[in-house]
Symmetry: C2
Subunit: 315 residues, 2 copies
Amino acid sequence: MPHNRPLSRPIILGIVGDSASGKTTLAAGIAAILGEKRVTVLCSDDYHRLTRDERLEYDVTPLDPANNYIDILEQHLRLLRDGNPILKPVYDHRHGTFGRPAYVSPTDYIIVEGLLAYHTRPLRDRFDVKIFLDPEDNLRSEWKIRRDCAERGYTRHQAEAEMQRRRDDAARYIQPQRTYADIVIRFFNPDPEKEVDAAHLSVRHTLRPTLPHPDMTPILDAGGRAGYRLQLARDVDGKPVDVLDIMGDIDDRRARMVEDLFWSLIPEAHHLRDHDQLGHVIDERNQAIVSHPLALSQLLVAYHLVKAAMGHTVV
Amino acid sequence: MPHNRPLSRPIILGIVGDSASGKTTLAAGIAAILGEKRVTVLCSDDYHRLTRDERLEYDVTPLDPANNYIDILEQHLRLLRDGNPILKPVYDHRHGTFGRPAYVSPTDYIIVEGLLAYHTRPLRDRFDVKIFLDPEDNLRSEWKIRRDCAERGYTRHQAEAEMQRRRDDAARYIQPQRTYADIVIRFFNPDPEKEVDAAHLSVRHTLRPTLPHPDMTPILDAGGRAGYRLQLARDVDGKPVDVLDIMGDIDDRRARMVEDLFWSLIPEAHHLRDHDQLGHVIDERNQAIVSHPLALSQLLVAYHLVKAAMGHTVV
């Protein structure tokens, strides 16, 4: 079992997406599956070059690579991948300033979540698995306003103004990174007539053939209309992809079926199954609920990390 | 002339010594000789692990390597030596806390001044020239109290208590590094009967044969009693060394003679001579004065850096 064998180097996962696209929530579930002690989560926001006040003064956004220490992020990921510790800068989101740096030792798995982690070729080359989070726009807006007001001291008006201010840079710098992802994960509201309900969001996984995805034909055989669907498609760039949809109204039994399939494909990681952290999220009413589509997304990503680790186990 | 030719890598100078041993003053003069734009001065205090309050709480000192990120300092010097930028932590001496990190690009010369820069073999291996500052104890005490009160917000009582608190760790961790230096520089009061007078301190250079020191026999031939003296000696560890004394009462003409000798030995650097920054120091009455012994110390060290640079000029 890989968790008992040393890895020749850390396995590095990227989770990139615009502000409030769900990066932290996805990362938390994956870390729970793999075991908190074996996972380090890095946020590339720590590599911002400017404080919040400075960005306002210069009228620039943190989405612009020029306002981030991209070369230092490259260097730190290289050091960690080679098994070295780093002294990581710390950006304090609550105050928009820099705190004391943090000493980070490499662990078996490193999750890098952030805005620009695929911006350069050297950055992209650091990752074993690359995820891009691309939720529906209105969904992300709602998440961002809720998060910025609750955790970062913004008023609703400020949060909306900031989003408006970021729109151009998001299109220019964030969205183009989608094309480098092995998996694009898009949460969406299955019924636009209804209000957003975290527990019943659906998710679409666009699976590029850049990774050896698990064989999901058993799901294919089961057909659609059952809460999930797998189909061959062309991506927006015309390239062939698999598209795996998991609907928000999938019932517990079927969700468990898909979950069982994933676990059956990684018997080496079966010991990791003993936990109930998957799919946890805080809904609109501040209630902790479980989302099957989120749980299955976390599991699919974890699958790829365990597989990658198996390729780097020291025998 | 080396200043017009690119270097294959930065030349790195170490200046190590206990707190308030004169590191910053020596570094400033050397940077002035070599040209501020070509020199980066790093202070290894930035690699402290704890704030001032935390050290008081745990009753530990910053002289203990365990309270410093020694491995990160090693890593950063390696990166700079290889031509890479670093994101350096910043310890704020005024408040005893950590500020926002600083982006540092390698320049032709890098001066690392600090408490523990020769503590490990990997650290020592980073340096082209290693200086250890070892002023007389009572001299250093006076410097420390003056500095800590004027610049770091200590009361005289606090500064004295802090020195007492550091005594054991200084003997355990700082002083043993003396043996790794190419040059030990010891400022001393030539007449213990008189009060310390910065303008007339003498200096003793202990020159280990670990560096190709300039031929100073012209000075030897001139004999002693003339403000300077060169003699063969055994160091405290029994090893053969040259000892170069420059007395505080050396007259301007003779000081200029020694200076001329040094410059004549590095004709490649003659263009650097056009400045009057050498030997500047603030005396006991807060007056800016010039010390010939300090000026000649700075010049001797600069000599070795220019020589080292010549060995790494890209032809």
